[in-house]
């Protein structure tokens, strides 16, 4: 079983499950990340987007129980010793977080925090580390890096802190960068800058990118492939074009219907009724059934599995929305989202 055959995929998650104090929040995630690809992970807060990757890197608190398989180039990470994980973190898979200002250490200088990562993963110290750190700061667009090397987190703006987080993440030259809602806490104009930066860096370095967000517009700009998650499961997976032109899971469609449009006649937004179910009292069948307009008795008793479809996407729904017929498409996605 544990054959370490080199696969095209950089990371493979298989049946990844997470429970906190016996309450399961992740119900078996299967997910592949290919080298150099940009994958979006979309869903409401609490659906397990971040937990998936925190679990994969062993960053969840001790009370979380994680089962399943996480493979990096065929090498199992789940349950591997701490020293193995410490080499992977930052060196192979780096992660940046939602709130950049509180994700940087307030009492250590920025320079020290970046050079620390350089020392661990690239053995750079002293002047060499400083030179490289300055190059990284320059690369992520921190003006006047030399003068600001010894400053502290509170002396930078939120957007600059996120740039510094990215610089720190790049320090280990990772093969995969997990960006966990990197723009959520930032102003709209700064968001666009950070997205541009991520797109540019991904192209320059060739690293893979997992972009976790609830902002479909941002996902469409950054990613090629999207996974939609709901209540700890992936419910639909496909290319950006597939999902955006013809969402088939009622939840995916609900997400699009809730985006305001700029052009065209003003229309009332269609919100998804109800709220995300409590992980403690998840419905027996499909977790989305109580909020879904297409629910049948079948949905309420049997949870659907994620199955491959003819057009290459994967879908977990017993009564999906019909595939849109070309030419008759009612466009649900604002043009500007697809650029």
């Amino acid at each position: 079983m544990a054959m370490t055959v080199a696969t095209a995929n950089l990371v493979e998650l298989r049946n990844l499950k997470v429970a906190f104090d016996g309450v399961r929040v992740l119900h078996g995630i299967d997910l592949d990340v290919a080298r150099g690809e940009a994958l979006g992970l979309v869903g409401e807060s609490g659906c397990g987007k971040s937990v998936t990757w925190l679990a994969a890197l062993g960053l969840l608190p001790g009370k979380a129980s994680v089962t399943g398989s996480v493979r990096l180039e065929g090498r199992e990470l789940c349950g591997s010793p701490r020293s193995t994980l410490e080499q992977v973190r930052g060196g192979r898979i780096a992660m940046i977080f939602q709130d950049p200002s509180s994700s940087l250490n307030p009492v250590l200088s920025i320079g020290r925090q970046i050079t620390e990562a350089l020392a661990i993963h690239r053995g750079l110290r002293g002047e060499a580390a400083k030179t490289e750190a300055l190059r990284l700061m320059d690369m992520v667009g921190i003006p006047d890096a030399r003068r600001r090397f010894d400053l502290y987190t509170h002396e930078f703006s939120g957007g600059q802190c996120q740039r510094l987080m990215i610089a720190m993440a790049l320090a280990g030259e990772p093969d995969l960068l997990i960006a966990d809602e990197p723009t959520t806490a930032l102003d709209a104009t700064i968001q666009a800058q950070i997205l541009d930066l991520l797109i540019r860096l991904q192209a320059e370095t060739g690293m893979a990118l997992v972009f976790i967000s609830h902002d479909l517009g941002a996902v469409s700009q950054v990613c090629e492939r999207v996974c939609v998650m709901y209540a700890g499961r992936i419910v639909e997976e496909g290319s950006v074009a597939q999902l955006f032109s013809s969402p088939r899971h009622p939840y995916t469609r609900g997400l699009f219907d809730a985006i305001p449009r700029i052009e065209g006649p003003r229309k009332r937004l269609i919100p998804i009724p109800g709220t995300v179910p409590n992980p403690k009292t998840l419905p027996k069948g499909c977790a989305f059934a109580p909020r879904c307009s297409r629910t049948t008795a079948f949905c309420e008793t049997s949870p659907p599995s994620l199955l491959p479809q003819k057009d290459g996407r994967k879908l977990a729904c017993a009564h999906p929305i019909e595939l849109a017929v070309a030419g008759k498409t009612e466009r649900r996605v604002p043009e500007d989202l697809l650029q």
Binding site: G90, F97, L104
Partner: protein, 308 residues
């Protein structure tokens, strides 16, 4: 920065002045040194002469002004009992007190902080609960009870350590232990809660996510952030190095400042009491000042001018 220091020094002077004034007034309102010193059966004219020679016949505010004047010229008065300069009497006792309080402080730091950090990192474990329980016991048991219990165990029952006096270093063990128990408990509690708070912060997750070893995450990233509340407590402990041993010195007949204070208060030996209180207030104020400066060194956010 200069303004910050000036403001702090001004505040320190005012604090010391307030302590001096309070001590001066209360001591003179609460009993007549002449009667205490000379005893009840002394003729009235002897008492009058005593009062006159120590200036106690003057109105209170004139005595006060004279006292202030002599303090500012470096004259701390003369002991009514020993007829020796008060400052000299007090300073003679300082080393004895420090012999107890400094080792006690070191014990508090060496046991309290690591115990608290360990408990925080192993939250909800058996060790954590043990630390909490011992810490609560440590700082809820008053030192006079703790001292007597230790004497009962080590002097009376086991007979391995002396119960009082200052002859050898063995005599210092029980008083030092008695004094450190409470501080260990307090430091353990504070270190634990400070570390728990810090370990839940996003930047700790960041530090782990970049591949730092766990040890470096704890000592390099977490502890510096938990240091401010811990330093505050340690500051109080340093400030009470001189005054903190009153009860313990009495229990173990240790000839330090604490014993001198008790004897001097009961004798209404005004100059000595005032001198002790001045030194105690001085150390407290100086250690508070040091703590304030340390804050800025520990946390760059407190260094920026906006926060003053």
């Amino acid at each position: 920065m200069i303004r910050f220091v000036l403001v702090r020094v001004m505040r320190a002077v005012i604090t010391i002045l307030a302590v001096m004034t309070f001590a001066f007034v209360v001591l003179r309102m609460s009993g007549d040194p002449a009667e205490v010193m000379l005893g009840p059966d002394v003729p009235q004219n002897v008492i009058e002469a005593f009062r006159k020679s120590w200036g106690l016949d003057q109105p209170l505010w004139i005595q006060y002004l004279a006292y202030l004047k002599s303090i500012f010229t470096g004259d701390f008065g003369v002991s009514m009992r020993d007829k020796a300069p008060a400052l000299q009497l007090v300073l003679e006792r300082v080393p004895a007190t420090l012999q107890l309080t400094v080792p006690a402080l070191i014990l508090k730091l060496l046991i309290g902080i690591p115990a608290g950090v360990y408990a925080a990192l192993h939250r909800q474990s058996f060790a954590d609960r043990g630390v909490i329980l011992l810490a609560i016991l440590g700082f809820t048991i008053p030192s006079f009870v703790m001292g007597l219990v230790l004497v009962l165990i080590f002097s009376v029952t086991l007979g391995v350590l002396p119960s009082g006096g200052q002859e050898t270093w063995l005599h210092g063990i029980l008083p030092t232990l008695t004094m450190s128990v409470g501080g260990v408990g307090i430091l353990a509690r504070f270190s634990r809660s400070a570390m728990i708070e810090v370990m839940g912060q996003p930047y700790i997750r960041t530090a782990s996510a970049k591949g730092l070893k766990w040890r470096d995450v704890v000592w390099g990233h977490a502890l510096p952030n938990a240091a401010v509340p811990i330093v505050t407590i340690v500051g109080f402990m340093v400030g009470s190095l001189i005054a903190g041993a009153v009860v313990v010195e009495s229990i173990f007949s240790w000839p330090g400042i604490g014993r001198l204070l008790i004897v001097s208060v009961s004798n209404r030996d005004l100059a000595v009491v005032q001198c002790i209180l001045l030194i105690v207030a001085g150390t407290m104020v100086v250690s508070n000042l040091a703590v304030d400066l340390l804050y800025g060194w520990l946390d760059p956010r407190l260094r920026s001018p906006a926060s003053h």
